[in-house]
């Protein structure tokens, strides 16, 4: 409307008189207001009716409302925790926190692995090798058309069908595959390791500074100083040198068979392994299609033009094709990440104690169903919104800047 006001062709036209709202059904403004009031009114009435029912039902069942129960001690047995957990001493609130961390543990590892695996499959579908292209196509078609819940159950059964600790598979020294999970050696933490970590951080920072300097030099002189030898020196050699200077402190906590079970080392439980593996394998089939269509969306002329400029293939991929493909890839990728996180709630079917599973137990013990489910929903909404926000920021960062 405001654009029309400035239009010179309308200068001579008579402006419509400003009307006040008429109390008539033929006035569109009044109509919209009436409709909205009616719709909101009906909705409010329904909500009030349900709320009244709920409070009556709750009082009939002697269930107190409110979040006070979160401070009560919980007797939920939790097998896998990142925080310390003592049943019947620690509170429901802490149990939920452990659940959130367990969900995050699956989500973060799952997103990273699914991205890598999905990208490999997606590139494989475009391979000139007929066998690779066919196999990856079959992978994508098959896994997308079978419910993820069924896949999770399948992986879980498979991992539980592994032999017991005494006949465990022993593919690498210190690594055992058995029905108790995957046992891996852990690095024993020593105080001097902090210096090595610090050296690595310093190395990364210095490399980034050097890269920025190289870019400035390139903008000024046209030649780009090599970045990777300095980077290798700073990120890999420097921390190793610090470690060696400190006397090379190193000890491994290697799992070993004692009696009927393993002692020492770290454990990846069958539940966690099945859930992560299932989600990665399933989500990768979607990511592969996104990557493939992203790469195909870049016109072939871009490759040819870059080749005509004498750029080599890796450079073209990194600086010409990938930046354009990413614009197509990032938005659908976001929804796949969100799907992976939401699908991690299927943990409950195979007994991994994520937020949904722990809250389910909590709900059964306390009867606080409304509060529990609301809390879980809030947790997932926070996950979803923060990932969306981050991916939107990244998308804006890589978007085409038009004049």
């Amino acid at each position: 409307m405001s654009a029309a006001a400035g239009d010179p062709r309308l200068a001579g036209a008579r402006r419509a008189p400003r009307r006040r709202m008429r109390l008539s059904w033929s006035d569109p403004k009044l109509r919209t207001i009436v409709w909205q009031v009616v719709i909101l009114g009906v909705l409010a009435a329904i909500v009030c009716y349900l709320a009244a029912n709920t409070s009556r039902n709750l009082s009939a069942r002697h269930i107190a409302t409110g979040f006070g129960f979160l401070a009560q001690p919980a007797s939920i047995p939790i097998g896998e925790t990142l925080l310390s957990w003592t049943p019947s001493v620690d509170t429901y609130g802490r149990a939920m926190l452990i659940g959130v961390l367990n969900t995050l543990k699956v989500a973060v590892v799952g997103v990273v692995l699914a991205t890598i695996w999905g990208t490999l499959i997606g590139i494989g579908r475009l391979s000139g090798n007929w066998l690779i292209a066919r196999l990856t196509a079959i992978y994508v078609e098959t896994l997308r058309d079978v419910p993820v819940l069924l896949q999770l159950l399948f992986w879980y059964t498979l991992l539980n069908a592994l032999p017991g600790p005494r006949q465990a598979f022993h593919p690498l020294p210190g690594v055992f595959l058995s029905n108790r999970g995957i046992k891996i050696p852990l690095l024993e933490w020593q105080p001097s390791h902090i210096w090595v970590l610090l050296a690595a951080v310093v190395g990364v920072v210095l490399t980034l500074l050097w890269r920025a300097r190289a870019a400035r030099r390139q903008a000024m002189s046209g030649t780009r100083p090599a970045v990777w030898p300095i980077g290798l020196l700073l990120i890999a050699v420097f921390p190793v040198a610090v470690w060696a200077a400190l006397g090379a402190p190193f000890a491994l906590d290697v799992p070993a068979l004692r009696g009927f079970n393993f002692r020492g080392g770290g454990t990846i439980t069958p539940e966690y392994a099945a859930l992560t593996l299932g989600l990665v394998v399933y989500t990768a089939s979607y990511i592969a299609e996104i990557v493939r269509s992203g790469i195909q969306a870049v016109p072939h002329g871009q490759w040819e033009a870059a080749a005509a400029l004498g750029l080599h293939r890796g450079f073209v991929l990194r600086h010409v094709v990938l930046p354009q493909a990413l614009r197509v890839i990032v938005p659908p990728m976001t929804s796949q990440y969100l799907n992976l996180i939401k699908n991690s709630s299927l943990a409950i079917a195979i007994g991994y104690q994520d937020i949904v599973s722990i809250t389910g137990t909590m709900l059964n013990q306390t009867g606080q169903s409304i509060e529990s489910i609301a809390l879980v929903m809030v947790v997932y909404l926070v996950f979803s919104l923060s990932i969306s926000a981050f991916m939107n920021w990244y998308n804006a960062h890589i978007a085409l800047v038009e004049r």
């Binding site: 409709w35 909205q36 719709i39 909101l40 909705l43 029912n53 709920t54 009556r56 039902n57 009939a60 475009l126 000139g128 090798n129 066998l131 690779i132 196999l135 078609e141 098959t142 997308r144 058309d145 079978v146 419910p147 993820v148 819940l149 069924l150 159950l153 399948f154 059964t157 498979l158 069908a161 989500t283 979607y286 299609e289 996104i290 493939r292 269509s293 195909q296 969306a297 072939h300 197509v328 659908p332 929804s335 796949q336 799907n339 939401k342 699908n343 709630s345 299927l346 409950i348 079917a349 949904v356 709900l363 169903s369 409304i370 489910i373 879980v376 929903m377 997932y380 909404l381 979803s384």
Partner: protein, 380 residues
């Protein structure tokens, strides 16, 4: 759940093919496609080795050493030979013994022709709805008639059919009912929400629609199903009890509608604004405009992504297993919980995967065909 992306990917152009300089013939084809470079040759050889090894051990397990029948024992079938062969050969006898239970659950054995007919009716309905020649008003009537017929067949109690209470239903009909009724009822809701989200003159309605869509899409289906199984009963007045399947169905409709609404909104946004302005210029009212001009074109644009969303929901019906509804997945897991057949889960999971795959794959094949036809019309 992840069907929105398939819409984006499926529109991609097929890979370019460069004219091959080599002569035609199988040897040239092999050289071009399998042994193009030393890296390609190495990949081919390694993959061939892996495929042959994995394929052989699968055939060995699934066919050569498989057990197809078990003798009858004193208390039901005698599964000792299956137990001995575990890990060496498949026991397909479990499928022969249990397929009726997996497909139809606890439905009275003598009456199981009824759910079988229901499944056939569903499939016929899907096929008829897929043919473009039948896309007309009468199709809605056909849907209503078929769904009523399905209700009559499942419940019975009329026309000389014995009454079967809902808690005895199970297996594939439950999966199909959840998916079909869910989508049939979610679709009108989704269109309404999508229109509401674009109603600029109704800010309150718009806000409501945005909150609904974003809230539902932000949480997993599981939490909604939990809501249906433990929270809905609290909402109802005392003495009123809705059965579990119906509650799950409601949760499923609310869930599906939010996702479908986003797909429909995509179609509404893709429609040029001139269509709406031209309709206004003709003096059509809002509802006339929406019914006659906007929706027919917008919905047509989004049919392929809609089918992809349907595939996602068909797979998602399996989640009702977690709240204990007897769908295909649940009857499959219950079948192998029986002591005699315990540990034979791979065979049953393969059977379930094949059933789900058959439905989803035919839908995705269909959606791709449709896309190609529409694309041809557009790229003419």
């Amino acid at each position: 759940m992840g069907s929105s992306t398939t819409a984006a990917t499926a529109g991609a152009t097929p890979a370019r093919q460069r004219p091959s300089a080599a002569r035609i013939g199988p040897a040239a084809w092999l050289r071009a496609n399998l042994f193009g470079s030393w890296a390609s040759s190495a990949a081919t050889l390694v993959l061939l080795y892996l495929i042959l090894r994995a394929g052989w051990s699968f055939i060995d397990w699934a066919v050569i050493r498989a057990i197809w029948q078990v003798p009858a024992g004193a208390h039901g079938p005698d599964t000792t030979i299956c137990r001995q062969a575990q890990g060496i050969g498949a026991c397909w006898a479990v499928v022969g013994e249990k397929y009726r239970f997996i497909l139809f659950g606890f439905y009275p054995y003598a009456e199981q022709w009824r759910p079988a007919l229901v499944v056939a009716l569903f499939i016929a309905l899907f096929i008829v709805s897929g043919v473009r020649r039948f896309w007309r008003r009468e199709l809605a009537l056909l849907w209503i008639a078929t769904l009523v017929a399905i209700g009559v067949l499942m419940w019975g109690g009329v026309l000389g059919l014995s009454y079967v209470p809902q808690n005895q239903w199970g297996g594939l009909p439950i999966t199909l009912i959840l998916a079909t009724f869910g989508l049939a009822l979610a679709f009108p809701l989704a269109v309404a929400v999508a229109l509401g989200r674009r109603a600029t003159s109704l800010p309150a309605v718009r806000l409501l629609c945005v909150i609904y869509v974003e809230l539902i899409r932000g949480v997993p289906l599981i939490t909604l199903l939990f809501m249906a199984s433990v929270m809905f009963p609290l909402f109802l007045p005392q003495g009123v009890d809705i059965d579990k399947l119906l509650r799950a169905q409601v949760a499923f409709i609310l869930f599906a509608a939010a996702y479908l609404a986003e797909v429909v909104r995509g179609g509404l946004q893709a429609l040029p604004k001139g269509q709406s302005e031209a309709a206004d210029a003709l003096g059509l009212s809002y509802w006339q405009k929406t019914r006659l001009i906007i929706l027919p074109q917008a919905l047509r644009l989004v049919i392929p992504p809609l089918v992809n969303t349907f595939i996602g929901f068909f797979k998602d019906t399996s989640l009702v297993l977690i709240i204990g509804i007897f769908d295909l997945m649940k009857s499959g897991t219950v079948a192998i919980a029986e002591p005699a057949w315990q540990g034979l889960s791979s065979e049953i999971y393969i059977l379930l995967a094949v059933i789900y795959f058959a439905f989803c794959f035919s839908m995705s094949k269909y959606s791709r065909n449709l896309e190609r036809t529409f694309g041809r019309a557009r790229n003419r």
